[in-house]
Amino acid sequence: MKQPERLSVLKTYKLFVGGKFPRSESGRVYEVTTAKGQWLANAPLASRKDARDAVVAARKAFGGWSGATAYNRGQILYRVAEMLEGRRDQFVAEVTDGEGLSKAKATAQVDAAIDRWVWYAGWSDKTAQIAGSANPVAGPYFNLSSPEPTGVVALLAPQESSFLGLVSVIAPAIVTGNTAVVVASQKSPLPALSLAEVLATSDLPGGVVNILSGRTAEISAPLAAHQDVNAIDLAGADEALAKELEIAAADNLKRVLRPQAVDWVADPGTTRLLAFLETKTVWHPMGA
């Protein structure tokens, strides 16, 4: 008798908040399909309250993460690359399905994403050296400017580049000590939700990255208006949404990174790395 083909075990995709994997508090899900419309999974349809919980988790994690040594943060980002390398095939499959790419192109995207973690891991203890300065003031004072993380950053991941683009907005934000609430690509959230599983096993403290899937406009509105969010990256917003969110963000003067045309494969430069930093200048007299 011929053995029936093995029925695969499907994954229940969940949100990633505070290091845990909750379902949406709303209990809602939405269908995620391939580029061609084939059903892939039911992703959680996160609500305003999920966004709120994610901000609380990100704020709670901020002290520890921003206070960790740069060396430690760099090691953890490198660990993410290591963990991803082992699950490379899974992400290639998810990117292939979600973005409708050929396997070769998807592989290139995943490889670039893994390498991007490595690139940013190395920045952890160099950012202050390129963004800081010793200032020769006209007086008997020691005067030093150094960059510090802005705080809790809402990241609207790019809609199209669901994995490389995603990694390219998360890594630069957190390597400097920010914590993040990420809104995954609405159409292709699965790589983001799977990345959560990697982050959870990479020594990254819970709450440093929180990942929400669902309708970008619905989740991002409360984030843009949230008084305890310090900055927002609008990469995944269209022009109309970006304007609306920027207006909401003005209420507590969030730092806003406007959407720009980005080639995610190209050298990322330092724009995103430096976007969510505050320069702190410390003075001290010099006298015996």
Binding site: G139, P140, Y141, P285, M286, G287, A288
Partner: protein
């Protein structure tokens, strides 16, 4: 806050006795002195510089010039000093401006111990004090009995005030109690046979103590030991009185009075040559301590060439034209 008594009054000793626990032994004294608030050098200098920008004009200037003249310890401390030189200096102290008898007289004539008798004689009836430097001035490097004999000689010769130097070597090596005891003994040596005492000014030679923290500690140490005045410098080293150092002394006497109830005087010495400088010091006294210290009883200038500049400025104010060195005396 206790009521205030002057450092040179009888009650001061009782007040100081109330602080006996901090001077009980070397360790206690050290702990106390190192427990005083630190001095931030840059902030101190900035404050002194800001006070130096006060603009003292017209009536205020006239007042300040006369006050400054009356606060001068007119000084000659040269190896070449002779009775003749001292006598002419005394004459100038009594009548600083031969063309204008309204000029006030100086507070004291400051000389080496062997010139005290000459000065005393020359100043008789003027009310001007004779101050004698003592204790192996200016280095302070002699055995204690020599320093005490030096002091007693000057007092016996009629000195009204003794300007002693501390042992900077002992201070810098942390032997605070040794410095304290030496001041105490010199203070005792200032007592005359009739039970009255010459006033004791304690010179720190702040240019050698180097740090403002040291200057503050030395100030408290000297006041605890019974100093009537604390004084910056001998005038014999490279760095003498400066506004910031003097400000530390002023803050120390202010805080000491608040804590112990004893009022002590301050004397910056050396390097104060112009009226402008002198007025800056008076502004500093005025804004740090107020009117209670604005008299020769509580503030002095140790100076020699300052007087002529004050006199020329005084002439300018009264005549409206600038004076010149030929219109003041060279003594």
């Amino acid at each position: 806050m206790p009521t205030t008594v002057p450092a040179y009054g009888k009650e001061a000793a009782e007040r100081l006795a109330s602080m006996a626990d901090v001077t009980a032994d070397d360790r206690a004294l050290r702990r106390f002195l190192h427990g005083l608030p630190g001095v931030d050098a840059v902030g101190l200098q900035a404050r002194a510089a800001t006070l130096g920008t006060r603009s003292i004009k017209t009536t205020a200037k006239a007042y300040a010039i006369d006050l400054a003249i009356s606060m001068i310890d007119l000084t000659t401390l040269e190896g070449a000093d002779t009775p003749g030189k001292v006598r002419s200096l005394c004459a100038k102290g009594i009548n600083p401006d031969p063309t204008d008898r309204t000029a006030p007289q100086v507070a004291a004539i400051c000389v080496y111990g062997d010139m005290v008798a000459t000065a005393k004689e020359a100043l008789k009836g003027s009310g001007i004090h004779v101050a004698a430097v003592a204790t192996a001035f200016p280095s302070g490097r002699a055995a204690l009995p020599v320093k005490l004999a030096d002091t007693r000689d000057a007092v016996a010769a009629g000195a009204d005030e003794i300007d002693m130097v501390i042992d900077r070597g002992a201070f810098l090596s942390g032997r605070y109690l040794g410095v304290f005891e030496e001041i105490r003994q010199v203070k005792d040596a200032c007592v005359r046979e009739d039970g009255t005492a010459a006033h004791l000014k304690v010179i720190f030679e702040t240019g050698e103590l180097q740090t403002y923290d040291n200057v503050r500690r030395a100030s408290w140490l000297a006041m605890l030991a019974g100093a009537d005045f604390i004084k910056t410098s001998t005038g014999k080293v490279a760095v003498n009185a400066t506004p910031p150092v003097t400000l530390v002394l002023l803050e120390a006497v202010r805080d000491f009075r608040a804590a112990v109830g004893v009022q002590v005087g301050v004397k910056p010495a050396g390097g104060i040559r112009t009226s402008k400088d002198a007025i800056k010091y008076l502004v500093m006294v005025n804004e740090t301590l107020g009117g209670e210290w604005l008299s020769p009883d509580w503030f002095r200038f140790g100076a020699s060439s300052l007087l002529n500049d004050l006199l020329m400025q005084r002439q300018k104010l009264s005549t409206g034209r600038y004076s010149g060195p030929d219109y003041v005396t060279v003594d």
